[in-house]
Amino acid sequence: MLKVLQKDAEQEMEMRTEIQNMRLELSTISMMDEFARYARLERKINKMTDKLKTHVKSRAAQQAKIKWIVNIIFYILQAALMVSLIWKYYADPVTVVPSKWISPLERLVAFPSGVAGGVGITCWLVVCNKVVAIGLHAVS
């Protein structure tokens, strides 16, 4: 993916350099004296600019598509990991504390382990998700 994108970026750079050179050349030509050459060069520049625009658009669309696919894959993997963890450890609490510490929410916190005073895997995953999100947000 990176190689393809790198190649596109190089092509784009080349086109930009070419356009810049042509523009420099155009600035040296007098429109009055060499109109035909001026017009030809201008047409070339316009054509190259349109080609560059199309190229940039397609590259941006490709990048957006790749980003979207990666996001989807990431979310699927995350969901799969969470489901598998819950499936495997649903009966085991993450840790056990005296139940009066977490009253009146002890049942909710202990879900689905059912252990009195325990912290269930679901609750712990939700809490960790939120904390990591806040941490990443603060760091970024």
């Binding site: 957006a64 840790t95 009066k100 510490w101 009146p104 929410l105 939700v126 809490v127 603060a138």
Partner: protein, 282 residues
């Protein structure tokens, strides 16, 4: 004879072309009215027209006036061309009769047109009542469509702005203060308080304190983002103030939930660390 027929035919064709050109150049609102079946002489519904005007303009020039004097002035060249004896009221245009397409009237002779013009006022009053509600419905639909297009444009702009901007939302000082307070309280509660009461009681007290302290912090202007949900709610008819208020409430609930998660996480981590160091020391 043939040359004479040809000349008269050409002049009739020229006249038709001229009238067609004039009709096309006429006010586009008039055309829309004719398509909808809205009559010019309908004075009662002119108020509705004016109130709906900002919404009804899809691709029209907002400076175009719908007032009858303007339209009658515009119609007058056409009417004078077809014949001065015709009824010159703005509503008595041939298109009002049947097909909305102006070109369909090309084949009618002038007599047919005048008959149509004369016959119109009789049936007009009775059909006005019936045509008003579908007209309103259509105008309402068009205004909603307009709103939907605007919201769609806003959504696209928001998405583009989000894509271009690297930092969508910063941690404002109050939010940072809240999170730090939650962490410190969790440590304090684990060490000193948890043996005596529930850990959620100090947390609730902390949240109440935050509500009071909020006004002492610099207010960060939170730009209300147009999302698909808010756009759908707006289009369903819910007022924007209600949506903003609800979004604000949800944002506050989200902040409280974030504080709770940080607090609980810190508490459990503290508990585990104390157990670990306690077991190691023992």
């Amino acid at each position: 004879m043939e040359a004479g027929d040809e000349a008269s035919g050409r002049s009739a064709a020229q006249r038709r072309a001229e009238s067609r050109r004039r009709r096309l150049l006429q006010n586009s609102e008039q055309r829309m009215n004719r398509i909808v079946g809205f009559g010019k002489g309908d004075a009662d519904s002119s108020e509705d027209r004016h109130t709906m005007e900002p919404r009804f303009h899809l691709d029209l020039d907002p400076n175009d006036a719908w007032t009858p004097p303007v339209s009658s002035k515009r119609l007058s060249p056409y009417i004078s061309e077809t014949g001065g004896s015709k009824n010159t009221t703005p509503s008595s245009t041939p298109e009002r009769r049947g097909s909305p397409l102006p070109d369909s009237r090309e084949d009618l002779g002038e007599d047919d047109l005048s008959r149509g013009v004369r016959q119109r006022p009789r049936g007009e009053l009775s059909s006005d009542e019936h045509s008003r509600s579908p007209r309103r419905g259509l105008q309402k639909y068009l205004s909603r469509f307009d709103d939907a297009m605007k919201l769609r444009g806003q959504l696209a702009n928001e998405k583009a702005a989000q894509d271009s901007s690297s930092d969508p939302e910063e941690l404002d000082p109050f939010r940072l203060f809240r999170l730090t307070g939650s962490v410190l309280l969790a440590v304090f509660v684990r060490i000193f308080v948890c043996q005596y009461l529930s850990i959620f009681a100090p947390f609730l007290t902390l949240e109440l304190a935050y509500m009071g302290l909020y006004k002492y912090f610099p207010k960060v202007e939170k730009k209300s983002k147009t999302t698909v949900l808010t756009a759908a709610l707006l289009l369903s008819g819910i007022p924007a103030e209600v949506i903003n208020h609800s979004m604000d409430t949800y944002r506050k609930m989200g902040d409280v939930f974030a504080d709770l998660c940080v607090y609980f996480f810190t508490f459990i981590m503290c508990h585990e660390l104390i157990l670990l160091f306690g077991s190691e020391s023992s």
